[in-house]
């Protein structure tokens, strides 16, 4: 599945892989996120936190009736305001995709898959 954009000069096809990598990259730049989680923990093993090349496992891009929805599975840091961190992720992912891919996202759903407790 991919996203097609028509421009004056022709056609641009962007695969979901690209969208999920950009979305994942934007999300981990947000404060309060300590990692991306795999949406499928049993299949992908117990190692919770995904490395950069695997962001797409924690990001699902869905297209329904011409609308683009993104589901993200993240791990947040203990002691942060989770709702606010999630909200920051939503706005940053939407903004970054719009800026770099020219893609207007209709919804960014954030699933908090874990909380990392650091000793302090």
């Amino acid at each position: 599945m991919s996203i097609d954009l028509n421009t004056n000069y022709g056609h641009v096809t962007i695969t979901n892989e690209v969208i999920s990598t950009v979305a994942g990259g934007a999300a981990v730049e947000c404060y309060g996120i300590v990692g991306m989680a795999s949406k499928n923990q049993i299949k992908d093993g117990l190692a919770d936190i995904l490395r950069k090349e695997n962001f797409s496992k924690g990001v699902v891009v869905r297209q329904e009736d011409g609308q683009v929805h993104i589901d993200m599975y993240i791990i947040v840091s203990y002691g942060t305001k989770i709702s606010e961190v999630a909200h920051n992720v939503q706005s940053q992912v939407k903004y970054t995709l719009d800026k770099t891919v020219g893609l207007s996202v209709d919804s960014v759903n954030v699933y908090i898959h874990g909380v990392q407790v650091a000793n302090d």
């Binding site: 300590v34 840091s77 920051n88 706005s91 903004y95």
Partner: protein, 558 residues
């Protein structure tokens, strides 16, 4: 006066002044906000977070620094908004953890607490972005450790820490390219410096100006100017869907809230249905709204059911945009168009081919081709229309080359004719054109490029004839390679397939471009594409709609 030990009451006062000073400067900090999302709300967010922290501190009665820190951290966590607000909450969470059991603190302990805050804040992020509030907090905390050894007095100590924080803030554009691009320092970092300023002023018992004098005021304008430049560049006035930029605040009133309880999510949802660029932030007393909408009145009515409206501002963005763009356009049209260095005149048949040639760089495209040759006068007019010192003419048909050469002689400008005989030759020639080369060099390069490409055309015969040994009946289709008839058959697709087999050299050729004529159907194109893919699997196929008459297909092979 020297303060060697800081007690809870003093620290609480410092926090309140810091929060207050941040409130006064929130707007200026908003204006600096370009990262990560340039939505201009960092100041607002930090202010709401800090105010929530300060409110908790105000409610606690104690002289124990640890207790004050705890309530500050709790208030910040509950009120945290935006990236910078969450970071701020983490900085003071770590801070309060370090002073938890302390009734009073020394400068060394203060420095230690700052460090602890930075550690906590950095733990909560996978990929810290330097050049932000995190950097300012880190660098000032690092400096604080050694500064605490020099200064036992809290005033001297904070003065030195603030100086370091400001220096660090000044360096943020070096670390974060987007800041440098816009020419601002980091907004979150500025927010933190503002809080520290408040801390120090309170210790010294000084009044702070409502606007921090350290920043030059032009920053405000810079951010706005950048914003406007973008709007002009990328938008048409007609593209504005929601015409009114509406900003207001609602001060909650209890009796109104009893009737319509405030629900931020529902309110945001209701507003988002009526507009975009939406921002709704609220605390216990206030909600701030920014929305672009067609019905500002409706938004105001909705908001009014929660309380009274304050600080309203509504702007007509269409008017603003038209006047900005209008100014620019009128100044452009006053100047007479200067002559370009190069102009290219080309001949095409079919709207699609015309567009393709224009997209490749032709300045003027004349309609014409087989059976409808443009006159010498047509070409001469086009040369003039190109409005250039040097004009290159691409006739794209052997019957037009002569007329083009005559027109070139008549023209006052420097004109050369690159005698392209087919559309693909013309396109190859256009691709070889380089505006920074001389006319002679371009002529040579374009002629060479035109020779590189093979042209195949499919058309039908208008009468019975025999050419070069091929018998052709009226109504049959003919395949023509570079002007020579190579195949003829009564079936269009059969002719086409034979033409392609004759034309393509699998070892040499890489790309085939199919230009679909007005008489060709998409099914035919698909069949041909499938045929090419089957027979020449390494060839790349490009398909364009040329809408040309007479020729069902034109093929270009390179």
């Amino acid at each position: 006066m020297t303060i060697r030990t800081l007690d809870g009451a003093t620290f609480a006062q410092m926090v309140l002044t810091g929060a207050n000073h941040l409130t006064n400067n929130a707007k200026m900090i908003d204006a600096l906000n370009v990262f990560p999302v340039p939505d201009g709300d960092t100041g607002t967010n930090m202010n709401l977070s800090m105010t929530s922290g300060a409110n908790e501190v105000r409610n606690v009665v104690t002289n124990h620094v640890g207790e004050v820190g705890k309530s500050l951290a709790k208030g910040l966590l509950m009120g945290a908004r935006g990236n910078s607000g969450v970071i701020l909450s983490q900085l003071f969470r770590g801070f309060s953890k370090a002073v938890e059991d302390k009734e009073t603190i020394t400068t060394a302990e203060f420095a230690e607490a700052l460090q602890s805050g930075v550690k906590t804040a950095y733990k909560a992020v996978m990929k810290p972005v330097e050049g932000t509030i995190l950097t300012v907090a880190k660098e000032s905390a690092q400096a604080a450790e050694s500064l605490a050894q020099e200064h036992e007095d809290h005033i001297e100590f904070l003065e030195a820490v603030l100086k370091e924080a400001k220096a660090s803030l000044k360096r943020t554009p070096e670390l974060l390219p987007v800041l440098k691009e816009v020419g601002v320092v980091d907004s979150g970092g500025q927010g933190l410096v503002t809080i520290y300023e408040g801390f120090l002023a309170n210790l010294k018992g000084e009044e702070l100006p409502a606007h921090s004098g350290d920043l030059n005021n032009s920053m405000d304008e810079m951010v706005n100017a950048e914003h406007h430049k973008l709007a002009q560049d990328f938008m048409d006035t007609d593209d504005i869907v929601y015409g009114y930029c509406t900003e207001f605040m609602v001060k909650f009133e209890e009796d109104k809230l009893k009737e319509t309880p405030y629900d931020e999510e529902a309110f945001r949802q209701a507003l988002s249905e009526r507009g975009d660029s939406l921002l709704v932030v609220s605390d216990e007393d206030l909600v701030k709204v920014h929305v672009h909408t067609e019905q500002p009145g409706e938004a105001l009515n909705m908001a009014q059911s929660y309380g009274s409206l304050i600080n309203m501002k509504i702007e007509n963005m269409r008017e603003q945009h038209t006047s900005i763009v209008g100014d620019q356009k009128s100044s452009e049209s006053k100047q007479e168009k200067p002559k370009e260095e190069f102009g290219i005149v080309s001949v095409a048949m079919g709207t699609g081919i015309k567009e393709m040639l224009e997209s490749l760089g032709a300045s003027v495209v004349i309609e014409g081709g087989q059976t409808m040759n443009p006159s010498t006068q047509d070409i001469a007019n086009a040369i003039q229309q190109a409005n250039a010192k040097n004009v290159i003419v691409l006739p794209n048909n052997k019957n037009i080359v002569m007329a083009a050469e005559q027109a070139a002689e008549l023209a006052e400008e420097q004109v050369v004719v690159v005698p392209t005989k087919t559309v693909p030759q013309g396109m190859s020639a256009l691709l070889a054109f380089l505006p920074d080369q001389s006319l002679e060099e371009n002529e040579k390069a374009m002629k060479e490029a035109a020779q590189q490409v093979k042209t195949g055309q499919i058309t039908y015969a208008v009468r019975d004839t025999q050419i070069e040994g091929v018998d052709i009946e009226k109504g049959h289709f003919m395949g023509i390679i570079d002007g020579k008839i190579s195949s003829s058959n009564q079936d269009k697709l059969q002719t086409t397939k034979q033409l392609l087999l004759d034309m393509i050299d699998e070892d040499e050729d890489e790309i085939i471009t199919i230009i679909q004529g007005e008489e060709a159907t998409s099914e035919e194109v698909e069949t041909i594409e499938a045929f090419i893919e089957e027979r020449f699997e390494d060839m790349e196929v490009e398909i364009h709609k040329g809408n040309q008459p007479i020729y069902s297909f034109i093929f270009s092979v390179e």
